[in-house]
Assembly symmetry: C2
Homo-oligomer: 406 residues x 2
Amino acid sequence: MALVVQKYGGTSVGTIEKIRNVARRVARTYDEGNDVVVIVSAMSGETNKLVALAEEMCEFPSEREYDVLVSTGEQVTIALLSMCLQDMGYKAKSYLGHQIPIITDSASSRARILEIGEENIREDLKNGTIVVVAGFQGVDAQGNITTLGRGGSDTSAVAVAAGLKADVCEIYTDVDGIYTTDPRIVPNASKLEKISYEEMLEMASLGAKVLQIRSVEFADKYNVVIHVRSSFNDNPGTLVMKEDADMETVLVSGVTCNKDEAKISVRGIPDKPGIAAGIFVPLSEANITVDMIIQNVSLDGFTDITFTVPKGDLKKAMKIVEGVLEDIGAKGVECDDKVAKISIIGVGMRSHSGVASKMFTTLSQEGINIQMISTSEIKVSCIIEDKYTELAVRVLHDAFELGSDD
Amino acid sequence: MALVVQKYGGTSVGTIEKIRNVARRVARTYDEGNDVVVIVSAMSGETNKLVALAEEMCEFPSEREYDVLVSTGEQVTIALLSMCLQDMGYKAKSYLGHQIPIITDSASSRARILEIGEENIREDLKNGTIVVVAGFQGVDAQGNITTLGRGGSDTSAVAVAAGLKADVCEIYTDVDGIYTTDPRIVPNASKLEKISYEEMLEMASLGAKVLQIRSVEFADKYNVVIHVRSSFNDNPGTLVMKEDADMETVLVSGVTCNKDEAKISVRGIPDKPGIAAGIFVPLSEANITVDMIIQNVSLDGFTDITFTVPKGDLKKAMKIVEGVLEDIGAKGVECDDKVAKISIIGVGMRSHSGVASKMFTTLSQEGINIQMISTSEIKVSCIIEDKYTELAVRVLHDAFELGSDD
């Protein structure tokens, strides 16, 4: 008998009929002799409806009240799923964040889980009850409702699995698992049997939207095995787990692309200490996340700095940079939002050389110009003109032989 | 400076624009120098939508989970109203039932309030915060969410007013106050300036749907003055309060009608002890509320018993009575759902005779046959054929001179 944590996303619980399907799957897992804890998201579309209400009410809604509002979405789902399970003859009980409790810090809308109470759930499991938990929400030390950010239900699931030392945390979604790349771009993309936490983190942060990044960090920290699989079939999905020897034999596990960033170049900056801080401190104070940063070699005492920011923050970032141009003595600034970031990821890179150069060669053979490069131990990313995005993904996927045969 | 509790019903908060109007009224009360606690219902239609989801899920939804589901309606409203007040520059904070806490018993969907925590609210009021409370919901001693039944937000408001010893509890609704009768039946029905708790209880239970009965009982018990008024204008409404000398000078305060009951007659019962129990114990065990009961004088050792039940329970009640007919030796049972109950209510009746006979005379002058009569200290009710309902209300309203001159 195992303790299984299952998480079902918004599309898996989008209608009453779909919730019934989820209940049947949960019941089957229970009938196989397992203890089952289910974490659910809001019915698809519900969170957007609630956000729209807040936006209709005012431009900058109170963050505390925003969390009170949007956390109702998951509350509806846990009640409906628990009703359904009871109607099928099972013992079931719903839990809100504060009833477990899932204690978080007080950062509304982006709270971090600090602690999971396991006592209440354990007691229910002991008497054969299926426990149904509202994802996405928690409660801070003062009793305020908090939410964990978009995709936060993944993190709820992993945190509950970690807290209960569950045998597996199954994340059910509308895809079959983690693929070598986006199958809409490369039809013969293949499903990965397993992937390391580190690789998954790079995949997630680079645009593969299957798992919330924080959930993977959490799983890594507490060594929770995540099984990403589809709620619409019984195919095995992808295991996200500790790196093992098999994984290192693969040079590249996946190719990702991200069109959500824009490039800003500050030109003709006097090459002296403190210039970078003069640009990036005000950006960080405005909560703008800077991703890649490249500083060119100084010529004649002047240098250029190029960096990327989320497209949604481009206007705000440009205004800030324009405001500091005079202070840092720069000659000008320009931006480009017609860029894409293409990345290859794989823990095998650590022990093999030549992976990056193969990427550059492959792109250049197609006449694709590389505007910026950044690398980590297990990743190489290039900024290219966005019209080449799909082409770049396809040729890299081929070059590293990631496609499936069928 | 006074402590004012205001409650706004579903129609008053039915849209974002209406919530803004509520916020303006709340702010005005605050600006006049008062401490303000606001209780709100779900946006109109929302509770019905949630109930429909439960009904779509299963025929007999779990009561615990039903409460988890439907309590989300009020949660949405408190968040939106608090956002709006903050956006207008006021300090505001929302409270769910468990955050106050509003402690109830564990009777899901019809919980009774046991205790109100006042500490958290007091602290907020002290620092100038407008407190926004979710109506309709509470929490039991085990931390389960409970709800107070339809109209429960009225009771939440009165309970909070009682707990905080508020100066007044204003119940905002879509009518101007309590009328002598339904203005849709009698256009010159007049608004009552004040009405005693007892009269209001009779009015509420007899079909005037302005206030939940329990809220009036609560107000009576803790001597909370309720001011029923419209959220769409500034007209003074009706004060529901302790009986005073003025009220006793009025013979009849109101005329009500109720078409929600049906009549059951059990014929030819041997007149011996235990027969009534044989009928009414099984009905009560089936949670069927019996209202009026009349037992005719026994003839030749046989008697008839006639009583009324809610129309919705008629089928169930008939089945139960048919099941006991043999046991009690009755000859037969028949029912009639084409009946209406017409009542006149007034604390003045206590000290004046002739009120009931005036009612009977008035009805008979119009050729309306009285099928059953029941009386209390401050009320006379008659069951009549339902096609005469409006006629009966009009002639009684005239006979007791309740109409306004304008």
